[in-house]
């Protein structure tokens, strides 16, 4: 099992979400974050342009079975891409254990809907 985390543009988030759905990834969490990086967001206040070195992004996080890692990453990379500085990152981490709270399923069994 792997955790996939991605930091993507707010404007790309819904597109990423749709791409993940098309890759059969329908269980994920996200939150809006502030951060800093190479991209800049300038602001204006009463005639003065200024920059607080802060940008807004969406941080997505979900855990998948190993068989789904490749297609999850591909879905994100394709849908979040613009080519401009500030597109974001994808991180992959090893997950030791996963348990579904309702049924007590462990491991891979907890990561998909049993039809």
């Amino acid at each position: 099992m792997k955790k996939i985390e991605a930091i993507v543009r707010k404007s790309k988030f819904e597109i990423v979400r749709k791409a993940l759905h098309e890759a059969d990834i329908d269980f994920l969490s996200w939150w809006e974050v502030k951060g800093q990086g190479t991209a800049k967001q300038g602001l204006i206040f009463r005639g003065v342009a200024y920059d607080v070195n802060t940008i807004d992004r969406v941080f997505i996080s979900f855990v998948v079975r190993d068989i789904n890692v490749e297609k999850s990453i591909t879905a994100i990379l394709k849908s979040a891409y613009t080519g401009e500085s500030g597109d974001g990152r994808v991180f992959v981490t090893q997950i030791d254990q996963s348990i579904r709270i309702r049924t007590g399923d462990h491991g891979d069994e907890s990561l998909y809907d049993k039809k």
Binding site: I44, F45, R46, G47, V48, V52
Partner: protein, 452 residues
């Protein structure tokens, strides 16, 4: 204390007038003044409109501009000033500002004859009038109308010290300022005894008394308190709620109709003229600022257009009863240029932290407005008054005297009052208070509780 006999109200031969020279005395058959229902109804509404300018107009305008950890502090400052200055006003403030005293202080401050509004009956007519000598309003309505001006003036200064002042120090300072700066300056300009009134200074609704007065105090406070401790070497922080800024500015514009059109103390042609030029100056200035933003920074901003509208309203305030619509357009278009330059260039270069531009907008706007009154006052509006462009260049000189006198007095007194409060109670918030936010440290409240 023996109260001297008052000769106001019913004595038509020695009527004290507000910004109008005493008319030809004792002409045969000047009718007895009486309470006009129409004028009174308007003035009661105008009074309410001016109150709207402080709460929630100014409260939201300033509140939306600060960071969210400080918004309640700003709202509280506006609210408590509404309460405490209203009380101060009826207890002795009105008497000091608009009453009379005897002796050498008479041109500078009134006495205590009207303390607790003693001697003012509910059916007494106002001794002050502008265009309507006979059909007047109740004295008590005039008292309350002026009360709202006394409330908003110290509230304007909030913009200079927002986000870094202790609440108790702010409150004591503001009340002392109202007593020792606002009341005297109001007396100078608007009381029949006042030396600036007698000199012929023109200030229809408070360009000097309210805006220059508060604006200079704001500059002094900003300098004396020092800058806010902002991260990353910034000197600007993003406003926490720009929709509030817009609502506040719109309420200010709306309420300003009472501020300016009500300063004629009647519902007549003069009020109509003041009403019109107020609106047109605001519109011109709003557009002007939006265009400046657009040209200089490539994008018109909402905070910018709101600020422009307010600047236009400030500038037209002293001129509202003296200028025509063409002058109002020019006054409005230019005030945004001056204020924009002040806040975007000069403030940064000089390095003082007038966090919400109380000086940049009210001080500079008020100075321009007072000068503009001296230039554009037209006898077509009120026949007794004309400015430089109508051939009376002396008026400009008189305006400059009023401007300079107010700047010096307000500046010096603000320094003194600041020092007194600083040494006794403390006025600057500590670094910890400033970083944690004034809402939680001064009021134990959080503005936006989103947990549920």
């Amino acid at each position: 204390m023996v109260l001297p006999v008052l000769t106001f109200a019913q004595d038509t031969t020695a009527v004290v007038a507000k910004a109008v020279e005493a008319i030809v005395p004792a002409v045969a058959a000047t009718p007895e003044p009486f309470i006009s229902a129409g004028n009174t109804a308007w003035m009661i509404v105008a009074t309410a409109l001016v109150m709207l300018m402080t709460i929630p107009g100014l409260a939201l305008f300033y509140g939306g501009l600060v960071r969210s950890k400080n918004i309640l502090n700003v709202l509280m400052q506006c609210f408590i000033l509404t309460a405490v200055i209203s009380l101060e006003w009826v207890v002795f403030g009105y008497s000091n500002a608009f009453g009379s005293s005897t002796g050498f202080l008479a041109p500078y401050i009134g006495g205590f004859d009207w303390a607790f509004l003693n001697g003012i009956g509910i059916n007494d007519v106002s001794p002050y009038y502008i265009s309507q000598a006979t059909e007047r309003i109740p004295h008590l309505v005039f008292v309350l109308f002026q009360c709202m001006f006394a409330v908003i003036t110290p509230a304007l200064i909030i913009g200079a010290f927002a986000e870094r002042i202790k609440f108790r120090g702010f409150l004591i300072f503001s009340v002392l300022w109202a007593i020792f700066v606002y009341n005297p300056v109001a007396h100078w300009v608007w009381s029949g005894d006042g030396w600036l009134f007698k000199l012929g200074a023109l200030d229809f609704a408070g360009g000097t008394v309210v805006h220059i007065n508060a604006g200079i105090a704001a500059l002094v406070m900003a300098v004396m308190l020092g800058k806010r401790k902002l991260p990353n070497g910034q000197h600007i922080t993003p406003p926490n709620n720009i929709p509030f800024v817009v609502i506040g500015a719109a309420l200010l514009w709306f309420g300003w109709f009472g501020f300016n059109a009500g300063s004629g103390l009647a519902a007549d042609g003069l009020a109509a003229s003041a009403f019109l030029v107020t609106h047109i100056a605001a519109a011109s200035a709003a557009l002007s600022w939006a265009l400046l933003d657009w040209i200089i920074n490539k994008k018109p901003t909402v905070v910018g257009i709101s600020t422009g509208a307010v600047a236009g309203l400030v500038a037209i305030t002293p001129a509202a009863g003296f200028v025509g619509v063409g002058s109002a357009i020019i006054i409005g278009l230019l005030v945004s240029v001056f204020c924009f330059f002040m806040v975007s260039v000069v403030k940064g270069k000089l390095g003082y932290d007038d966090s919400l531009d109380a000086f940049g907008v009210h001080g500079i706007g008020g100075i321009w407005g007072a000068i503009a009154t001296g230039l554009f006052a037209s006898p077509l509006i009120q026949s007794a008054y004309s400015g430089a462009f109508a051939g009376n260049s002396k008026q400009l000189g008189i305006q400059l005297i009023a401007i300079v006198a107010t700047i010096i007095y307000s500046g010096v007194l603000t320094v003194i009052l600041f020092k007194i409060v600083e040494k006794t109670l403390g006025i600057r918030a500590t670094d910890e208070e400033e970083t944690a936010g004034l809402d939680i440290t001064q009021h134990n409240e959080i503005a936006y509780n989103e947990s549920e």
